[in-house]
C-alpha cells in the first residue's frame, strides 16, 4: 500500500487561525504606538496648564488683571499646533454665588492629534486674602 502525503485540513485551519491572530495583533501595534504618543502629549499639556496656575497664584490679588493672555511655554512646541491661553475674570455667580471677592482662572491648552483637536482645561479660583496672598 502506498502512503499518501499532503497537508491535512486541520493543519490548514490551524495555519489560517494563527495567521489571522497575528495579523490582528500586529495590525493593532501602530494604533497602540499612536496612543502612547497621545498619552505623552496629554501629560505635557497638563504640566503646562498646572505651571500656569502656579505662576498666577504667586501674583498678588490686586495685580491680577482681568483678560486673556497667551501661554508662553517652550514645551508647547512638543505639541502639534500647540497653543494655550489663560483667562482671568471676575468670578461669576454660577461659581461664586455668595458674592465672594475672587477671580476665576481658566487655563486652556489645545493641540492637534492625528484625529481631531484635543483640549485640556483647568479651572480654579484666586481670592483676596486667599492662598499665597
Amino acid at each position: 500500500m502506498r502512503k499518501n502525503s499532503g497537508i491535512s485540513l486541520v493543519e490548514v485551519l490551524l495555519v489560517i487561525t494563527a495567521v489571522g491572530v497575528l495579523v490582528l495583533i500586529i495590525g493593532g501595534i501602530p494604533n497602540s504606538i499612536g496612543l502612547i504618543g497621545k498619552a505623552g502629549r496629554q501629560s505635557i499639556a497638563r504640566e503646562i496648564a498646572s505651571k500656569q496656575i502656579e505662576d498666577k497664584r504667586v501674583i498678588s490679588y490686586a495685580n491680577l488683571a482681568n483678560g486673556t493672555v497667551a501661554v508662553v511655554d517652550l514645551r508647547l512646541s512638543s505639541l502639534l499646533f500647540g497653543s494655550g491661553q489663560v483667562l482671568v475674570s471676575d468670578c461669576d455667580s454660577t461659581v461664586c454665588n455668595n458674592g465672594e471677592v475672587a477671580k476665576k482662572l481658566e487655563v486652556i491648552i489645545t493641540w492637534k492629534e492625528l484625529v481631531g483637536t484635543e483640549t485640556l482645561k483647568l479651572n480654579t479660583l484666586i481670592s483676596e486674602g486667599g492662598l499665597n496672598q
Binding site: 495583533i25 501595534i29 504606538i33 505623552g40 496629554q42 461659581v95 475672587a102 483647568l122 479660583l125 492662598l131
Partner: protein, 281 residues
Amino acid sequence: MNYTLIMRQPGQILLILLLVMAIGLGVGISVIQRSVTNISTASKVEQSSRAFSAAEAAIEKALQGSCTGGPCVSFDNLATASIQGGELLPYPGEALEYPPISKESVAQFWLADPSTLISTCGNCSINVYWGNATTSPGDVDPALEVTVISGLAPYSATKYFLDKQASIRNNGFDSATITCPPPAPIATYYGSIRSFFCSKTISLSGVTSPILLRARILYSNADQPIAVAPVSPYSLPSQAKIITSTGQAGSSKRTVQLFTEDKVVPFFFDFAIFSAGDISK
C-alpha cells in the same frame, strides 16, 4: 542514504509556526498593554489635576467664609469640590497641634485672645509636645526652643531650651524636666491618639498675662509636629482653622488640607532687636 529520515518530518513547520506566533503575540500584546496603561495613566493624571484645581478653589471660597461645609465648587470642566472642617480650633480644653514644621521654622500658639490680648490664664500650666514618636533612620532626635511672651508693655520673653540628648550634645539644654516619651498620647484634630517624642509641662504661675508661645525645632532635619495642650481648667483661645477640601473630576479625587492661623508673627521675630529709642553703637 536514508532520505526517509531527512525528508519526512511532518509537523515541523507547525512547530515553527507556533514559535513565530508566540513571539508575535508576546510583542504585540506587550505594546498594546503599554499603550492601554499609558492612556489610562494620562487620563487619570489629567482628572487629578482638574480635581486638585477644584480643591484649591474650594479652599479659596472657604477662606472667604462663603463655604462652611459640603459641596462648594462646580466648574464647567466637570470638576467639583467640597469642604470639611473650617471651624475654629482648638475646642475648649483641647490641645492644638501644628502641622509638622521643618528645622528653624516656628510654630506659634496664642495663649491669649489674638484680638484683645486678654489672657484667661491665671496661674495656669500648659503641656508642650514635640517630635515624631520615633526618629527616622538617618535623622537625629529633635530639640525644642520655646519662647513664652508675656506682659503688656513692657513685654517679657522667657525661653526654654529642651533636649533629650543634652548631655551628649553638651549644649546646656534642659533634659531633666522633660518626659520622653510623654506619659500618655493626647487627642488633637489630627487624631484621638497622638504620640510625640517628648513633652514638658510649663507652669505659667506668676507669669503676668501670657500672650504667645513660639516653638522652634532644632537639630532634626525631618519635619516634626508640635502641640500645646492646656492643663485643666485652662483652655487655649480659639486661634486656628483646619480646612479640608476634596476635589473630584472623573474617577480621581484630590484632597487639600489647609492650616490657617490668625496674626502669626514672622519667623525672624525672635531674632529682631526691639528698642523703645534709637540704638547707638
